[in-house]
Subunit: 303 residues, 2 copies
């Protein structure tokens, strides 16, 4: 399959590399890593075993890239205003677009620009970060769940999931994209914001009983917001939160992406991870007190 | 009156200087400013007019200080474990102790060590900070309300209030010390913690509508906690909060003391300003959700 990776941060580089390793024809839109990858290829330091790709098809500009069967979007959501310009040159009649970005609102934006029928969304549960130019670190986890934006589970979604599975990325196609988006928020909303605001890694927040309790309260609020959204079946707050906590305890001193964004002076993905979920909950009459408080304090630090 | 100032930060230096200027016999326990003040005296840069005291009675050690009629405590509450040692040498039979420290629990601690009958508490509403050694800046406000810890309004409290008034410090003696302590928390709880956590000054938090709303919600929670404490009369949440907001808007880009503590690498006064008020509210069955959340995030940053 002819695949374009738009947004070659840790996530885009890792999944693109896995797909190329499995024999797919992958094209990366690169910025920071262009020179290093052009010269020396791409190295993946993975908890599942390191590997190196010597020949990588990298581009500085989307206009130079070939048409794709599948565009995978890994761009930070604060750069979403560039999506139309970056993706338009890649589209053939049947090109599908899969966004693996954080939070809510990304599928809607892509559907607005390119038509709902092209759009799929996926949720990646992966601990990864960028290393030196030309290197990416895959620390733990790595699975993806994905689904259609506008239809149920289609052969197209099944095919993309199968392709990821062949590439050593555990992947599951699902019927209810909205549900998996909200499930991911159960992790993202407490950990991303609290780590960014306090400057403390996930393990420290879990080791301190009051913040551990707060993480649980925030997770309960996310589930309350989620379960007001007509999901195919409700999320079980207690079981799902316990699962997220357990996974996080296995991640050690993890720096969530928003904490890294803050430490590295980038904007924070507040719209996708906080503002839109809060609005969607409010639209169903659900007030998320602690989430709103966390959001307002993160937001003021961006001004 | 023979007065000992224990804790010569911005607050202790300012009020001590005013009292000396008015003719009281003031003795300062000094640490950072000892050398500068011994050599050059103490300069007060005040919004009400600058003044300089050439001869200042400064001491490095409480044991060298004379007995006092009144001990004024301006120590940071995170250093309260030193109070017994610092104050014991100053006590005559009738020495009164007035704590102007932040938050709750200070009078109780002094009463435990020295007997309840000695103890008065006061709430200073003042914008001040330390400058170079030997200088203190009084930016705005400056009034004090004070009262007895264990009795109603006594001649002793009235006399101390009158002394402050003679020294150009607007001061009022009150019957209900507990009430003015909680009233001050209506300001301290939102602004100290939010400014310390976000790194933003009071004006920026008030200019951003979501944090302005959050400040209001936090103030409402403080009042709910206060009004469960058998005060002589309840605090009017709406009127009092509006008054606090209005005062704060007049303070410009103010750095609350807890924000300065954080910026200067000192501990935060979390026990007095958050933990004890939360416990006292919980003891009356009042849960303060947002305050607990703010406290837990501040607390984890201290570990």
């Amino acid at each position: 399959m002819n695949i374009a990776i738009i947004g070659s941060g840790a996530l885009g580089l890792y999944y693109g590399a896995r797909l190329q390793q499995a024999g797919e024809n992958v094209h990366f839109l690169l910025r920071r890593d262009y020179q290093a990858i052009s010269r020396n290829g791409l190295t993946v330091h993975s908890c599942d075993g390191d590997f190196h790709l010597q020949q990588v098809q990298g581009y500085r500009c989307a206009d130079e890239m070939p048409k794709a069967d599948l565009v995978i979007v890994g761009l930070k959501t604060f750069a979403n205003q560039h999506l139309e310009q970056l993706i338009t040159p890649l589209l053939d009649e049947d090109t599908a677009i899969l966004t693996l970005q954080n939070g809510l609102g990304n599928e809607e934006l892509l559907a607005e620009h390119f038509g709902a029928s092209r759009v799929l969304g996926g949720v990646a549960f992966i601990c990864s970060n960028r290393g030196k130019p030309g290197e990416v670190h895959h620390l733990s986890q790595g699975g993806i769940r994905l689904g259609e934006f506008s239809a149920g589970l289609t052969p197209r979604a099944e095919n993309i999931a199968a392709m990821f599975n062949r590439a050593k990325v555990p992947c599951q196609g699902v019927k209810d994209l909205k549900k998996i988006r909200w499930e991911k928020l159960v992790w993202n909303i407490p950990f991303n914001g609290m780590c960014a605001l306090t400057g403390k890694t996930t393990d420290l927040l879990l080791a301190h009983p009051p913040t551990r309790a707060l993480i649980g309260d925030l997770m309960d609020e996310v589930v309350a917001g989620a379960n007001a959204q007509d999901l195919s079946s409700p999320i079980d707050a207690k079981a799902f939160s316990a699962h997220m906590i357990e996974l996080t305890e296995g991640m050690g001193a993890y720096h969530p992406s928003m904490m890294l964004d803050r430490l590295q002076g980038r904007p924070l993905e507040l719209e996708a991870i906080y503002a839109i979920p809060l609005r969607q909950a409010a639209a169903r009459g659900v007030e998320l007190t602690r989430i709103a408080m966390l959001y307002s304090m993160l937001d003021v630090t961006e001004n």
